[in-house]
Symmetry: C2
């Protein structure tokens, strides 16, 4: 399948629409016709760009992960200290959620993992691994610089932090007034400061 960096403008509009639908309703909750209506073309034109629904969702997840990694690099440039980097990281989730309670693409797809085509599920696991790897790196540095508590170990803290952010979006979607990702991240981080 074509990489999103080589896609036509039309194909990218399809990916845009599918991304929003996945964030709102999940893989099993949207159809090619939903995408077609959003883009303003007919259903078979979607198949021209993405032969199967799995191909389309894979492209959405690939681009989402790619953009996320770009933002992680930006955080590294803009913030030097680990606590600031982790706060900025939480802001990525908060910004997604602030737009009509949209979920993380891969949080939603992760919940649906057992009913996803293999290619999509694989992209989702790549997203999570990229995130926990980056978080573990940032937390390890923070521990070395004595900005963060030395225990528990960085990888455990990274897994827990990602889980907290993904879970916060899901809970806050259902409970009015619940703390969103930025709120729970602040709580979590305050227990981590050295």
């Amino acid at each position: 399948m074509k990489h999103f960096s080589e896609m036509s403008e039309s194909a990218l509009r399809v990916v845009d629409a599918a991304e929003g639908l996945i964030q709102e309703r999940g893989y099993n909750g949207f159809s090619y016709d939903d995408v077609a209506k959003l883009v303003g073309i007919k259903k078979p034109s979607i198949h021209h760009h993405f032969a199967t629904k799995g191909d389309l969702a894979t492209a959405v997840a690939q681009r989402y992960t790619h953009r996320f990694r770009e933002q992680l690099l930006r955080i590294e440039v803009q913030h030097a200290r680990a606590p600031d980097r982790l706060t900025a990281y939480a802001t990525l989730f908060e910004n997604t959620f602030a737009a009509e309670h949209r979920l993380c693409v891969c949080g939603m797809l992760g919940a649906e993992a057992k009913s996803l085509p293999d290619g999509v599920a694989h992209e989702v696991s790549r997203f999570f691994e990229a995130n926990t790897d980056w978080l573990a790196m940032v937390i390890t540095e923070g521990q070395r610089a004595q900005q963060l508590r030395a225990q528990p170990e960085a990888r455990a803290l990274a897994d827990a932090f990602l889980a907290t952010l993904e879970g916060a979006m899901i809970v806050a979607r259902s409970v009015r007034g619940a703390r969103g990702p930025a709120g729970v991240a602040q709580t979590y981080l305050s227990t981590l400061l050295a």
Copy 2:
């Protein structure tokens, strides 16, 4: 709609099957025919017990929440100290997840909240509220007894703990070798001990 405590044996078998399907694939990922095949009857017989799919999912969520609250009461009886209660609470999630990586019914439905019938979404929010209320109560007591750190406030810690458990199930579903709910809960709790 009938309360699950007054349902026939056949209706409860339908609820059992639907519960497992929701945990595996979500509301938008199963059909009346899937339920019928699991129970060993035909599709219209499901409609005899639950007129609509929303009614069925509502019954599943109601019973799930009811059973969960029963288990919270049991934890209060079996464990006196807040840290032990919170560990036992995490074990509820771990036990669910240990069975074929099943998700929390309301974690899954919470992700799908925007494509659920109103009645189902309402039950999901009731589940989350019951959980954060109970957790806040337990954590408040633990803070008073100086078993848990006094800051951040109990409600914030409760929200973050629930989010962590729900998120851990979703992430661990996609990443082989990732820490499940018991693992991340242990990490989280170790940062909370006084």
